[in-house]
């Protein structure tokens, strides 16, 4: 990512200039904010951008983009994706899984954007040898109807989702 991009899409506080470059942790909220709970990742990213986060942590709001997030994915050492996940539990339920725990392409998870979803982009990044350690924080949607508001069930979970993300960024890297 360019410096321009970081300053506008993310909140980067601190970041000592004389120390070795810290691991870049990127929190990437994705989804379509015009389809109520489908946009939960966007709502979470927007909230996180208003908060003070530790040095080296960036927030990117990826909207409905897929392929176009290759620059974000390959620029991260650790990636935390926040998205709606249809897992069959009660609306507002939160899932956490490693990308390697997600059933592998092509049949097990399905992205319905016309081209390619964020998890496929992470897999594709392997082709250029820049794959971040990736965790998905998923939220079970209630409504995918047209509308820019979250359902009450999902909205009520925003503080908990953010709490889980903050725990996640403290978790030591596996590598």
């Amino acid at each position: 990512m360019t410096r321009q991009n970081q300053s506008d899409t993310s909140k980067r506080l601190g970041g000592g200039s004389n120390a070795a470059p810290p691991k870049r942790i990127v929190i990437l909220g994705v989804g379509n904010m015009l389809l109520s709970d489908e946009g939960v990742g966007v709502h979470v990213a927007n909230k996180l951008m208003e908060m003070s986060l530790p040095p080296g942590v960036e927030v990117v709001e990826g909207g409905t983009d897929g392929f176009g997030l290759m620059n974000v994915v390959t620029g991260a050492d650790r990636l935390i994706v926040v998205d709606a996940v249809k897992g069959g539990a009660a609306p507002g339920s939160i899932y956490r899984f490693d990308i390697n725990d997600a059933p592998a392409y092509p049949d097990m998870y399905k992205t319905s954007v016309h081209q390619i979803g964020i998890l496929e982009v992470v897999h594709l990044s392997e082709l250029i040898g820049k794959t971040p350690e990736t965790t998905i924080i998923g939220v079970e949607p209630k409504s995918l109807d047209m509308g820019m508001e979250l359902s009450p069930e999902v909205k009520a979970k925003l503080p908990k989702i953010i709490e889980l993300i903050l725990e996640e960024i403290k978790r030591p890297s596996k590598h």
Binding site: T111, G117, P141
Partner: protein, 520 residues
């Protein structure tokens, strides 16, 4: 009655486009294109402040976000009576230029190229090139591990597929290089766009962010790298394939269609708006030897819902378009409406733009025997990428010169407040074709908003006059010798760069396995 084959979804990975073809004696006899997901995001805009429209419409799609934003601000510029200063136009064009370069590289390498090569030919590469041997090892390794995403799933290679190991291996290497290049183009767009995806700086009246010389320099450095890739790799590959192993496909004119072409025009090269990278115009029934381009008249656009799942209605001009679904309508087979120009179906996109512009490189290929169709479409896309790259250099020079002038302006601040009432049409050229937004403002709020997107033109169903849509017509006569392997159908549709639905992308595992990862 021939055999019916259904291809669903047809986009590279997933999609909302279903194509049904009837095959008789190894050729497509009839075809139906169905958009299988309801659109109608426009309803969300009614009653909102018009200035929200560019940002909301930019969320319609994750690929074409900035072009919706541009069509939207152009509609608002008209409705507000705003005059965008040249500096604002230059910045808009630079942000959009990056979008074009990104989109076309991605489309060719990552969404189309695999339809034309036999990827397994990589294993037979015997050359000494280190980079290519690394590619060979990688692909062979993926095949052994049975993990060939994203190179598969695919249809079986046919007699048109490129099998030369050197060519295929080099194409796969370029596929991988292009992943890095498209990411660079995205970053380049963010320099003036403020962020990406979903640019922040394009608003009614112009642009929000004053540029500085460092940004111009950074943009130029990235453009240099992309320019080199476009000229030395992308165009070289498209021409080597198109005039080499794929020339038989070009000669039979696979994927031709109605030979009607429409371009709204976009990307100003001077302050008068007269000189454009993509001039507007209409071609009806192309005669490649004497191309006749008519003036584009926006009043001649109508949308038919005859075969759409919408309440029966006469064809309407987009200002008066409505979205009332009728899912039980007899004969209906698509959520896509059927736009027509002067009653006729049109192709929009790179080939339409380059033919309307009478581009000498594209006409040269046609003169050599490449009938307009899939190969010409890919060639036109590559050639216009170079036009955009060249224009970006001009815009950077212009911008630097404008920045030094006293009173340098990027926004018409006198027209920021919405008018009491107003109407405006915003025409633009998205990478995949002509895009129009129509807005009606009443009491300073949006009263009606309609978009006609490029894939609506290309993917439309039939209309009152029973004309097939452009996808449908372009499939007629396509060779399908093996009904289980309709690879030509896929080549044709993908050559248009289909982009439908633009909507949901939640992660939807087919099993309930994911439940074990429940944390709350």
């Amino acid at each position: 009655m021939g055999q019916k084959i259904v291809v669903d979804p047809i986009t590279r990975i997933e999609g909302h486009l279903k194509i049904t073809v009837e095959v008789e004696n190894g050729k497509v006899k009839d075809a139906w294109s169905s958009g299988t997901m309801a659109r109608g995001f426009e309803a969300i805009l009614q009653g909102r402040d018009p200035r929200d429209a560019p940002f909301v419409t930019s969320r319609f799609c994750g690929v074409c976000y900035s072009v919706h934003q541009m069509a939207s601000v152009r509609a608002l510029d008209k409705a507000f009576g705003a005059k965008v200063p040249w500096g604002g136009t230059l910045l808009r064009n630079l942000a959009m230029g990056a979008q074009y370069i990104y989109d076309h590289i991605l489309h060719f390498y990552h969404l189309s190229a695999l339809d034309y090569i036999d990827i397994m030919a990589v294993a037979a590469y015997k050359g000494k090139d280190k980079g290519l041997n690394a590619v060979k090892d990688k692909v062979v390794g993926l095949v052994k591990a049975k993990d060939t995403f994203p190179l598969t799933p695919r249809y079986k290679p046919d007699e048109f597929s490129v099998t030369d190991p050197d060519m295929v291996t080099s194409a796969v290497k370029h596929y991988i290089d292009a992943l890095t290049m498209q990411a660079k183009a995205r970053n380049m767009g963010a320099i003036f766009g403020g962020r990406q995806p979903h640019y922040q700086s394009i608003v009614v009246g112009g642009f929000t962010q004053l540029p500085d010389v460092n940004q111009v320099a950074r943009f130029r450095t990235m453009l240099d790298e992309l320019s080199k890739f476009v000229n030395d790799v992308y165009i070289a590959d498209v021409l080597a394939f198109g005039t080499g192993p794929l020339f038989p496909l070009a000669k039979i004119g696979l994927g031709g269609g109605h030979y009607n072409y429409l371009a709204y025009g976009a990307l100003e090269l001077d302050n008068t708006g007269e000189s454009l990278v993509f001039p507007p115009g209409v071609i009806v029934g192309l005669n490649p030897k004497a191309i006749k381009v008519d003036r584009f008249d926006p009043n001649k656009i109508t949308e038919s819902v005859k075969y759409g799942w919408y309440k029966e209605n006469k064809p309407q001009h987009p200002y008066n378009g409505e979205q009332v679904f009728d899912l039980d309508k007899k004969g209906a087979y698509s959520f896509v409406k059927a736009p027509r120009y002067n009653g006729k179906p049109m192709e929009v996109g790179p080939l339409a733009r380059m033919l309307v512009a009478k581009n000498p490189d594209v006409l040269g290929l046609v003169a050599k025997g490449a009938k307009p169709g899939v190969v010409a479409r890919h060639a036109a896309r590559a050639i216009e990428t170079r036009l955009v790259v060249d224009a970006c250099y001009e815009w950077l020079d212009e911008l630097l010169s404008e920045m030094t002038k006293p009173g340098f302006k990027i926004h018409d601040t006198a027209h920021w407040e919405p008018p009491e009432t107003g109407i405006g049409a915003g025409f633009y050229e998205a990478p995949r074709g002509a895009l129009g937004h129509w807005v009606k403002i009443k009491d300073k709020k949006i009263e009606n908003y309609q978009c006609v997107v490029p894939s609506t033109w290309n993917a439309s169903p039939r209309c009152e006059k029973k004309y097939r849509g452009q996808y449908e017509e372009s499939l007629i006569g396509a060779p399908v010798p093996d009904p289980d392997n309709p690879i030509n159908v896929v080549r044709i549709i993908r050559s248009f760069d289909p982009c439908l639905a633009c909507a949901i992308h939640l992660i939807d595992p087919k099993s309930n396995e994911i439940k074990k990862f429940l944390v709350e």
